[in-house]
């Protein structure tokens, strides 16, 4: 089995992987004390997907508040996508936000600044 689901909690997001569709999605707040434990599995799944398939990969994010330790973990994930993109892989991030929460947009924008792969920041109603 290549796929996993991590149920969300008050301080950690819900995470699902879909190997067949090439989609990894995350929703919710992320402020665990040790984000490395949480994101390690995500990082490994993406690494394996990029290694083992030539198919497109999409990250579908509905993340809200991230503590700095989660931000650091997310940056590692985006760096992985960036390296794959430079190797000619088809990767993209779609980050959905609620119009009322401008902090989420600012957070996503700061990540986007360091990425050259397709990175969309989209409002959802």
């Amino acid at each position: 089995m290549n796929d996993f689901t991590i149920p969300g909690s008050q301080s950690s997001p819900t995470i699902q992987s879909h190997w067949e569709d090439g989609v990894l999605s995350m929703q919710g707040d992320s402020y665990p004390e040790n984000s490395y434990e949480l994101f390690h599995q995500v990082f490994e799944w993406i690494e394996r997907f990029l290694d083992e398939t030539a198919r497109p990969l999409r990250l579908e994010l509905r993340l809200l508040y991230l503590n700095t330790s989660s931000i650091k973990a997310m940056m590692d994930i985006f760096d992985l996508l960036e390296a794959a993109y430079r190797d000619g892989k088809d990767v993209a991030v779609n980050w959905y936000y609620d119009r009322r929460n401008e902090r989420v947009v600012e957070l996503a924008e700061e990540f986007k600044e360091d990425c050259t792969f397709p990175f969309s920041i989209l409002s959802h109603d």
Binding site: Y31, E33, Y36, T68, E102
Partner: protein, 180 residues
């Protein structure tokens, strides 16, 4: 034992517009529960969503910083306590403060780092934040100007305020305060 005057305490909290305060050993679940209460208070006060998120973020970074530090030192629950206050100032702005015991030398380093941050404008803070984000995890020490501290400075509308008070046995109490 000196009897507790709860009424006087309440009057003090009200006068100083303290929404929430805590003193004692702080666990991961306690940080979450108090954070949850804080979010509910902010929602009940109809705080602007961005301000509410900033207050919550500063609270999380401050308390998790304390947890990381005391765990690194392997301190007992009693030493690993935190004093946390969320209040409003006379202009209605939110003020998040947290204090904890710290080894004298670490306290001096932390105070110097906070003073260094106080001299930076928003663009300089952002540059420093991005630089820190790129540093390897192992290179991060709790006593340096870590990512959390820079994040707190970026979310503050005034320079961070900090002070150090000697306690005993090579320990001091550090107080950090951020106006959102």
């Amino acid at each position: 034992m000196e009897s507790l005057d709860l009424f006087a305490m309440r009057e003090n909290y009200n006068r100083q517009q303290i929404m929430l305060c805590f003193n004692g050993p702080i666990s991961r679940s306690l940080i979450e529960e108090i954070g949850n209460a804080l979010r509910n208070y902010l929602a009940a006060e109809h705080a602007h969503p961005s301000a509410a998120m900033d207050v919550f973020a500063v609270y999380i970074e401050m308390t998790q910083n304390i947890r990381h530090y005391t765990r690194q030192k392997n301190w007992s629950d009693q030493e690993a306590g935190a004093t946390v206050v969320v209040a409003r100032d006379e202009h209605g702005r939110y003020v998040v403060s947290a204090g904890n015991l710290i080894e004298d030398a670490d306290g001096d380093t932390l105070l110097a780092a906070i003073h260094e941050l106080a001299d930076l404008d928003k663009a300089q803070l952002k540059a420093m934040y991005k630089e820190q984000l790129r540093k390897p995890r192992d290179g991060q020490t709790a006593s340096g100007a870590g990512l959390g501290l820079i994040d707190i400075a970026r979310k503050s509308s005034e320079p961070l305020h900090a002070s150090l008070q000697p306690v005993a046995n090579g320990l001091s109490f550090i107080s950090l305060s951020a106006v959102i």
